[in-house]
Each structure stands twice: as C-alpha cells, then as structure tokens.
C-alpha cells in the first residue's frame, strides 16, 4: 500500500529565512528521494508526462531513482529538458505534471518537481554536461534575449548543428531568472551552471546589446540565416491611478532589478540603492507579488501586505510560494483594489486608498470577475507601494521593425510553428504568450528550434 502523503521537503528554519537570501526549500536527500519515488504507480497511460509541456518520461526516470541509478534517471530527463534543476524548482507543478498524477485520487500527487530537482542538483554536483554537438555547421542563428526561451532555443539549435549567438540587453544572462526570481527560490549557482553549460556548448552570448537599437532585425537577417525573438514580457504595467509617480512607489520589476541584478540589498557596498520603510503594500497576486513580498521581509520591512482584488483561490502564484509567503509572515488583504496613492508634503507615498471588491460572474479567463462595492473605500497606511500587476511586451523591437505583426497588446503573432510575419524570423516565450511560465517558454522555444531547422534544411 503506497503512502497517501508525499515525503515532506525540508525547509530552512524561519528565523534563518528572514535574515538571508539562502534557498528556502532544501530539496530531497537521497533517502527521501528514494522513499518518495517508491510511491509512483508507473501508470501505463502516463497522465503525468502528458501534462508536462516537455513530455518528460516521468515514470521512467522515477523508476531509475528507485533503482538508485541516478545518472540514468538524469539522462532520461536531459533527453527532453536540459535544465532540470531550474524547472524542478520553479514549475507550477500543481497545474502541470502533478495535476494529473493518479496518486491524487488517494492523496498527494507524486512530488515530481522535487524528484526532478533532486536529479538536477545531482547533475550540478557531479558536473554532468551533455556536450555532444554535430561537427558540420548547418547555418547561423541569432537569438534575441537570454531568458529560458533564448537559452532553450540555443541549446536545441546547437544540438541540431547550428552556430548560435544570443544577444542580451542586460549586463547578465538569464532573463527573468536572473533579474526577477530571487536567489532564495533559484540560487544563482544553479543558473550559473546552466549558463556555463550553454556557453560550453559553443553558444556565443553577447551582453549589453539592445536589439532594435544596436542592431535591427533587418541587419541581423543579413548576417544570420534565422532570428529567434525571445525577448519576454518585461515592461511593467502600472495601475493608472493617481499618485503612481510618488517617491516610494516601485514597479515590481524595478524593485526586483535593483535587488536581484544590482544587489541593492548590499548598498552601500554595491552602488545601487533601494529605499524601504516599515510597512509596504504589494499590489497583485502572482509569483512576482510573492517574490517582492518575501524579499521585503528579508530586507527588514516590518509589515508586508499583499493587496489582491480577487480571493486566494484565483491567485496565479505557485501554491508553494503562497504558503512560504504566509509562513514568513506576509499578510493578505483580499478582494481589495487600490484606487489612488496619496503622498505627504515631501512627495512620498503614505496611503493607499482602496475599495472592497466582490466576485461576480466568470469572465473570459474563467475566473470570477471582481466588482467594486460602492461606498467601501478605506485607506491603508504605508511607506512604500510595489505594483506587481503584471508585465507586457517591450515595444523596442516592434518600433524598428514595422513589418513584424503583433496583436493589440503587442504580442508577436506567430503561426503554430513559431513563425512570425517576417520570413526567417521566429518567436517564442513570453513575447508571444504574454507573461507565462519558464516551462512554457522552454517548450515553445524547443518547438521553434525544430521549425527553424525544418525551414532551413528540411530536417525535423
């Protein structure tokens, strides 16, 4: 009889968590991984694999774990996914592989993400890299953006025999994984391992290069056989309410860039400052809002309040991160929508004027639409506000590439194979879908890499 409960994962103790940026979830030990792996039923239909965007053969790698053949298990994953230590940590497993796991009928699904991470960590510890690439060069591809989509595209195209150059606007590679997701969820050594891997495969990563400014797409098409746009959705949205220009108000992206990329938490040792008071309100309910909140607590902010306009059930954040945030002391004001920010005589934000909401009928996204309750306005006193209500596509490239078709929101329009309206130009990841997930960006980029190969060489 299998256990109905997953082997619980160890976490850093609460008091340590709130003082450092050390990783919170510690991952399975070998014996824990073995014990958890034993729960797998090896279902014939493999519902778990079908729900994984990269179709990892889950039952198979879990079987190898049971046999303690970790290298073999890892190889099963690497066939489909070059970055297991990343996806094992950041995939929203509860809506992907683990959602359809048969074990859910009995209790907890198999902790697939934790087992994948176990193997990813094993990979890093033992420095296992699959560096096989064809000798003959089939062509040259330029990739714009070094987030998950760009990195995946690079790996896949390298393995198909292409020379690959990635152009990245920022001074570090990794996209959201380096400037957005904090170290306590995705340690930089993990990201560094994989960036190093991509470089070792022979991919040329050129930093500090804003495409659309330093080179246009047209120019890239002269030097490369194909261009893959993987520029993400990095432009922060604001609420468009009065007071957003006040000091003390940050977009989530600015907050995260200052902390994760510029190391403002080490100011003045590092030169970039961040200025936080005792109480901060974070507007939004996604991963970004959770990350900002948990960082704020680690920086000594006394009270962090998440303002979200729907209920907990609708929050798009990974379940695990909502739980972690709660454990760490983040407070939630649900069904609450800010309508104005109010500043003091020094132009610093002091209050968020809010209105209470109730849930109405489901909207197009299937989630129940929040509606304001008239007369329910109230103020929340704050020293800072961080706006984490999502991001949209940066329009830099479109502006210099008039032929590139985009939809109303600026998403690059592609056919089902990832081709844009311009010949030899492809796109994948958040720039196509809008803000989504790492795994979806990986899956899309992989598919597009094969489209490029097919279009250039009739391969598959």
């Amino acid at each position: 009889m299998v256990s109905r409960r997953s082997v619980p994962v160890r976490k850093l103790s609460l008091d340590k968590r709130l003082k450092t940026f050390e990783e919170v979830v510690l991952g399975y030990t070998e014996s824990e991984a073995l014990e958890e792996a034993k729960r797998c039923l090896k279902c014939k239909l493999e519902p778990c694999s079908k729900a994984c965007p990269l179709n990892i053969d889950i039952a198979k790698f879990v079987e190898y774990i049971k046999e303690r053949r970790f290298k073999k298990a890892l190889e099963v994953i690497l066939e489909k996914n070059p970055f297991p230590a990343i996806t094992g940590r950041v995939c929203p497993q509860e809506v992907l592989c683990q959602r359809d796991c048969t074990l859910r009928k009995l209790g907890d699904p198999l902790a697939i993400g934790k087992l994948e991470r176990f193997l990813g960590d094993y990979q890093i510890e033992n420095n296992i890299m699959d560096l096989k690439v064809p000798e003959k060069v089939k062509g040259k591809v330029a990739i714009v953006g070094s987030g998950p989509a760009g990195l995946m595209g690079a790996v896949e195209l390298r393995k198909l025999g292409y020379e690959v150059t990635i152009f990245e606007a920022l001074h570090e590679a990794g996209g959201v994984m380096v400037y957005g997701i904090p170290e306590f969820r995705l340690p930089r050594r993990v990201l560094r391992f994989y960036i190093n891997y991509v470089k070792k495969l022979g991919v040329n990563i050129v930093l500090d290069s804003v495409i659309g400014k330093i080179f246009t797409i047209e120019e890239l098409l002269r030097d490369y056989d194909a261009v893959l746009l993987a520029t993400g959705a990095g432009t922060p949205k604001f609420l468009n309410i009065p007071g957003e220009e006040l000091n003390g108000v940050y977009s989530a992206n600015e907050f995260l860039i200052r902390i994760n990329l510029m190391k403002a938490y080490k100011f003045p040792y590092y030169d970039t400052p961040i200025k936080l008071g005792k109480r901060i309100a974070v507007v939004g309910g996604g991963n970004t809002a959770m990350d900002v909140s948990r960082i704020a607590l680690r920086l000594g902010v006394e009270e962090v309040i998440v303002l979200y306009r729907r209920t907990e059930a609708e929050m798009p954040a990974r379940r695990e991160e909502v739980e972690n945030a709660k454990e760490e002391g983040v407070k939630f004001m649900l069904l609450t929508q800010p309508i104005a920010l109010i500043g003091d005589e020094n132009g610093w934000v002091r209050k968020v004027k809010c209105i209470k909401m109730k849930l109405g009928k489901p909207d197009a996204s299937g989630r129940r639409r929040p509606i304001p309750i008239p007369g329910s306005e109230f103020d929340v006193e704050v020293d800072n506000v961080v706006i984490a209500i999502g991001a949209e596509v940066n329009k830099l490239i479109q502006r210099t590439t008039p032929d590139l078709k985009v939809d109303r929101k600026g998403h690059v329009i592609v056919d089902e194979y990832g081709r844009t309206s311009i010949e030899r130009v492809y796109a994948a990841g958040d720039v196509v879908t809008g803000a989504a997930t790492v795994i979806e960006a990986l899956a899309a980029a992989k598919k597009v890499a094969h489209t490029i190969h097919r279009d250039l060489h009739g391969g598959d």
Binding site: F215, T235, E245, S251, F267, T272, N394
Partner: protein, 276 residues
C-alpha cells in the same frame, strides 16, 4: 569591457571621456544616450552621446562629477576599461528644417545641446544657442557650440561671462522680439521647466530632454516614468525628449530627490576610501 581612450577635465568637476564602442559609434544619433556601469558593484547611469566617430569607433560623453558613479568614471584612466556601455538608447531627435531654432542649455546640458544643434544646423535651420552656467569657468564647449550656431548667447549667474543672470532670461528677452519655430532645452530640470513656462504663452513648440533616474534604460523598470499630458511615460523608450508644455516638471523634480540621502552616504564613503 569597454576601453577608455581619453579622459580629461574640461571645467571644474566636468569631464569629457572618449570610449571605444565601435558598434554604438556606427549607429549613434543626436538626442540619444548610453547607459554605463563602471565596475562589478557599480550602478547603471545614463549619459548623453555628445559625439561619436565611426571611423575611430569611439563615442564621447561629457559628465559632471556629482556622485559615486560619475566620480568613479572620472577616475578610470586612459587605456583602462569599464564594464558596460549600452546603447544607443532613447529616440533620436527629430531633425528636420523647422526654420529658426533656439537651443537652450544649462550646465552640463550644454554638452547635450551640441549634437542636437549640429544636426539642426546641418538640416538647414537657422540656429540660435543660449548657454548658461553658474560662472565662466563652468562654461563648456563654447567654441564647438559657436561653430554650429548662427547666433550664440551666454549667461552666467555671477556675470563673469556674458549676460548676468539666468539663461532663461535671455530666452524671455529673445521672445519679446522674435518668434522662433522651435525651442529645444536641455539641462537642469528647473531650467527646462522655466523655459517651457516662458514659451507657452507664445505658443512656441518646445522640446525638452528629460533626465529622470534610470536603471535599465530599455523600458523594463519604469524608474524613469514621467507624467506627460497627464499620462505615465517612460523617458528611456518614449523619450527622453518630450513636449515641454505637457511635462509635469514638479513630479519629475520630486522623483529626482528620491535617493538624496543614499547618494550622499555613498559619496561620503567613496571619498573616505579614496583618501585612504
């Protein structure tokens, strides 16, 4: 890594620096800027492209040593390197034949005025430059500006050169007599605010080049947001030039003060470490 080709003081606390950045030099246009980061712990700051030489592969920046980053940059010797130079960023100035253009510069903004006036002149405009500084020692690039201006006026706060008073007084007097087709202002925010309020009653189109605090310079952070025509705009990708009559300058000035204490702390620490 970007090599420093030269680094000179051109006025007290103002430096001109030439950096090897061939791809940027090929594409730079008047009105654009770069973001630089000096070292591993450094902040990213924007500086205007004052000149560029595609043959030599170099770009020229002029900056005032006001805080940690500009002081660090000032100390990087010829032949040494800085970590990052990103650009050309921002929208280029819309250069066409407007007719008569008055360019107003203040302080280090005079350097930013130079490439813009040069292009305006090249496009066949009649160019009038008005440049101001606290005192004559701080007047920079006067000869260069004179070369691209049909008329050049100078103002210093202390009267040590040219008109005694603000450069905006010169503009006011000019408008009492003549009607330019465009006024272009770059310099301290308060100066650009005053310029815009002077030109407004005359209905003269006024472009200002804004200088909010920036981080990435590519539209990803929103630190550079300014209110223009009642709407939030990002100066790095929507600007840095905007219609001066639409800009909420008070909000911008407020935002520029946000890190005052941190800037002072960082600077005092840097100065201590330099002394040691």
């Amino acid at each position: 890594m970007f090599k420093i080709l030269s680094n000179h003081i051109i006025a007290p606390e103002i430096r001109k620096i030439e950096i090897y950045a061939p791809e940027i030099a090929k594409r730079a246009k008047a009105g654009q800027f770069v973001v630089i980061r000096v070292d591993e712990r450094g902040e990213r700051i924007p500086l205007t492209l004052v000149d560029w030489n595609p043959n030599k592969g170099s770009i020229t920046l002029v900056f005032q040593e006001v805080g940690v980053t500009t002081k660090k940059l000032g100390r990087v010797k010829k032949g040494k390197y800085i970590l990052d130079v990103i650009g050309p960023l921002g929208n280029p100035t819309e250069v066409k034949n407007y007719g008569t253009i008055v360019g107003v510069g203040g302080g280090v903004g005079n350097a930013c005025l130079l490439p813009v006036m040069r292009e305006f002149k090249r496009a066949g405009n009649y160019t009038v430059s008005m440049i101001g500084a606290r005192t004559s020692e701080l007047l920079i690039l006067e000869d260069e500006l004179s070369e691209v201006s049909d008329e050049l006026y100078i103002a210093t706060d202390d009267g040590s050169r040219g008109y005694k008073g603000f450069v905006t007084d010169l503009l006011k007097r000019f408008l009492e007599r003549r009607r330019p087709d465009l006024v272009y202002a770059v310099g301290p925010t308060i100066m650009m605010k005053v310029v815009s309020s002077i030109t407004k009653p005359y209905g003269v189109k006024t472009i200002v080049s804004l200088n909010p605090i920036m981080v990435d310079g590519t539209g990803m952070c929103g630190a550079c947001r300014v209110i223009v025509g009642g709407k939030l705009r990002f100066a790095c990708i929507d600007g840095p030039e905007f219609d001066g009559h639409q800009v909420n300058f008070d909000a911008l000035m407020n935002r520029l003060r946000m890190y005052k204490e941190e800037e002072e702390l960082a600077l005092s620490l840097l100065e201590k470490s330099i002394k040691r």
